[in-house]
Symmetry: C2
Subunit: 215 residues, 2 copies
């Protein structure tokens, strides 16, 4: 199937989806949207996704899939190997919970439009924005570290010895953190897993700086 | 299986989980946490969920499931009837995307700890907090309304004629909106679907004001 990826190199949700596509061994056409220039607000893109958000995965029949986690679940249901979720329901719940800690508690608070809004509504300068960003990363990475360090289910990766949806979200978030120079050593288990992930070609090829539109 | 629900009547993510449990026809023990009093920061609760967030669903064997969407996916995988996601992968992707628009773009920005943070970091008063809340609801409800109104897949509910994960997230968010008196008529399709949902016993019984800890 022909796949077209509408995305932006530095968007964390785009990084997630690129990693998932790479893990599944799928080729895709790369379409870049410069968010700071407002490419995602064009009439053409809004016709594809009325929410004006990347990433979007466009299928050969013109179907436009939105929301990175929904697209990754679709990929996992459509291309079974390698699986991005374990088989056992309780294990799946653990992996999804770890993924959603990043996807529902950190990223939504720290993406570009939210940081811009802090400036517009509260005159937040660079320092205040950085403080906000670090606050939400810490509020979730602290318990995430504890949950990973304390569980026998944590292996080479977040769950066992194969990468899952949880690793995909974690990997993208750590790259995002680097924009604010957050030292990863504070969370040794997360740091170890990130290093493991960054050693895999599928993840490395999804990293922001390795994209054609990287500045 | 014995199920214990750690939750709070007004927590939107708790409302989601109650609706899912009710739709599946499952009984559960209701354990209330007064978030404004900090019940969720007790050592006892942090031992159950290090993130200090409700809801948590505790299973008979002591397993504590966290993150409402992960728990609902677990419920759907464990108790098949009625399904909360359609069978077709593309339809599942649509339902999940609609759900995540609420769960990843609105709720994370508008929950209690974020509104408190606006006060602490930016001295935001009631008016500024309300403006923030309404801003993020509008930013997503506008495109959500368009996506629901323009799709032939929308039926009596968000997807077809049976309630799904998307309806669960939407229903909980609309109750949350009422705290800031956001008029629902702005989004006629959302308003129609909410009215349909509110006519179902499973949803009505999950609504904040119908819980034992409601003030």
């Amino acid at each position: 199937m022909r796949l077209r990826l509408h995305n932006f190199y530095r968007s964390s949700t785009s990084t997630r989806l690129r990693a998932a596509l790479n893990l599944k061994g799928l080729n895709y056409e790369y379409l870049a949207y410069a968010l700071r220039k407002g490419d995602h607000r064009s009439a053409e893109f809004l016709a594809i996704n009325p929410a004006g958000l990347v990433p979007v995965l466009e299928l050969g029949d013109g179907t436009a899939l939105t929301q990175s986690l929904a697209i990754i679940e679709w990929l996992d249901e459509t291309y079974s190997e390698p699986p991005l979720l374990p088989e056992d329901p309780a294990a799946r719940a653990r992996v999804r919970a770890l993924a959603y800690m990043v996807a529902c508690e950190i990223h939504p608070l720290n993406n570009l439009r939210v940081l811009n809004r802090l400036g517009m509504q509260f005159n937040a300068g660079d320092d205040a924005v950085a403080q906000w960003f670090v606050h939400w990363v810490t509020a979730t990475f602290d318990p995430l570290e504890a949950m990973l360090a304390d569980s026998r289910e944590t292996g080479r990766f977040c769950h066992g010895d194969a990468p899952t949806l949880a690793d995909i979200c974690l990997y993208a978030q750590v790259w995002n953190n680097r924009r604010f120079s957050i030292p990863l050593e504070t969370w040794p288990t997360i740091a170890r897993i990130f290093a493991e992930l960054d050693g895999l070609q599928a993840f490395r090829d999804a990293a922001p700086q390795n994209q054609p539109d990287a500045e």
